[in-house]
């Protein structure tokens, strides 16, 4: 942010102003639309990320459901089996 704010009003420092670098055919309304679109998308992805991380933290080490299956992509069977095998080896 400091770098971006600090170099204003230049987009290429000392050579080209930001106002000269904007697209002629892209209106302010279009950029507002995409700005909110990106904000919404990132907020959604951020929330889902937190949800998933909290689930993994809550499950604790060794327990709960697998998130990176080793032998069976898509299900989680693989890591569960691996955990079971590791548990047996330990006991």
């Amino acid at each position: 942010v400091v770098a971006e704010v600090g170099r204003q009003p230049w987009i290429v420092y000392g050579l080209r102003r930001t106002t000269e670098a904007t697209s002629q055919n892209v209106t302010a309304g279009m950029t507002i639309f995409t700005l909110f679109g990106f904000m919404g998308l990132y907020a959604l992805v951020g929330l889902l990320y937190l949800l998933l991380v909290l689930r993994i933290v809550h499950a604790g080490p060794g327990g709960g459901h697998a998130h990176e299956p080793s032998s069976a992509p898509g299900t989680g069977d693989g890591l569960d089996n691996a955990h079971a095998a590791a548990g047996k080896a330990r006991s």
Partner: protein, 337 residues
């Protein structure tokens, strides 16, 4: 000469993207129909799981080569198609999320939601890429600076939409051919039926698109008349189309997929051969002759330097991709039964 080389590089990148990401977009478009339940759908995701994001590298590389070699083309098309490209970007994000998130929570509703997101965004991407290519072929109304404003009413014309529907049908057929190679049992049998039926749909649409192209772009044949050896591209395309049906009939999934890849590459090669040296032709009502490989290009020094670097990068990507496909060869196991 160097401009022509870059034109070929750009066409090659786009054809590579269409062939590679084409099949995983196709698998996505058919996802809900081909996979009857979450278990089968999980297996479908597994067939493309290790390779889909590598395939998308080709799209980024094609965009990159546009910046480097034809910056005016990049400026005009990314500003002109601004909203459409942002939607493509969001769909690409959504599709990736579908693939990566669906197995994070072991709950049917969670999986179904991501299956729907993945399938719809893949189908829409296939449609939008076809619409984009249709619009490039048709030409856009460029102003005196060689720029244009691509409103939706402009872009969603019948010719481009025909291109979009053709793209969905072709890539779905290509995706079904991939699933035939990567699975066995009832899922493979169903994918075979889909690929067989979709061949007829794709061929009908392709014939319609070719006929429409003669109406919309009557000047398109000029290059083929001047350089008859260019006719090799449409000839290979036609041969590949027949070969798909032949290998489908012999239940030779591998060769049918190779023929399907050749068909898609052949179509793009034919379009490129007809378009050369134009990149973004001027449509009706233009105050500009259209962007071509000379007036949209970087200075010659940049083109040479960039080509030297680019070929190294391309080699690395090719090596990496061959490795990944070799590593994950064979069938995606049915881990769900």
């Amino acid at each position: 000469v160097i401009n022509t080389v870059w034109f070929i590089v750009l066409a090659f990148m786009l054809a590579g993207y269409a062939v590679l990401d084409g099949f995983d977009l196709g698998v996505g478009a058919l996802h809900l129909l081909l996979g009857r339940n979450t278990r089968e759908r999980g297996r479908l995701i597994d067939t493309i799981g290790p390779v889909w994001n590598g395939n998308e590298v080709w799209l980024l590389a094609a965009g990159g080569s546009m910046v480097v070699a034809f910056p005016h083309l990049y400026a005009a098309s990314f500003s002109g198609f601004y909203l459409a490209l942002m939607i493509v970007l969001w769909l690409l994000v959504l599709r990736g999320l579908g693939i990566e998130f669906r197995h994070q929570i072991d709950h049917d509703m969670w999986r179904q939601a991501w299956d729907v997101a993945f399938s719809l965004s893949s189908a829409l991407l296939a449609l939008l890429f076809g619409v984009a290519l249709g619009n490039v072929l048709r030409g856009v109304p460029l102003d005196e600076h060689g720029e244009f404003q691509g409103t939706f009413s402009l872009m969603l014309n019948w010719f481009a939409l025909l291109g979009g529907v053709l793209s969905v049908a072709l890539l779905s057929m290509h995706g079904a051919a991939w699933v035939v190679v990567k699975t066995d049992g009832p899922l493979q049998a169903r994918a075979r039926r889909f690929a067989g039926a979709l061949w007829w749909v794709a061929m009908a649409l392709l014939a319609a698109m070719i006929a429409a192209s003669f109406v919309v772009r009557p000047d398109f044949t000029a290059n083929f008349v001047q350089y008859p050896w260019l006719l090799l591209a449409p000839a290979i395309t036609a041969a590949a189309a027949i070969a798909i049906k032949y290998f489908q009939g012999r239940q030779d999934g591998g060769r049918a997929f190779a023929a399907s890849a050749t068909l898609i590459a052949g179509i793009l090669a034919s379009v490129a051969a007809g378009l050369y040296p134009r990149l973004l032709p001027a449509g009706p009502g233009s105050a500009h002759p259209g962007l071509d490989i000379y007036n949209a290009a970087s200075p010659e020094g940049s083109l040479r330097t960039a080509l030297a670097i680019y070929l190294w990068g391309l080699t690395l990507v090719a090596l990496y991709q061959v490795t990944v496909y070799r590593l994950w060869r064979g069938k995606a196991r049915d881990v769900y039964e």
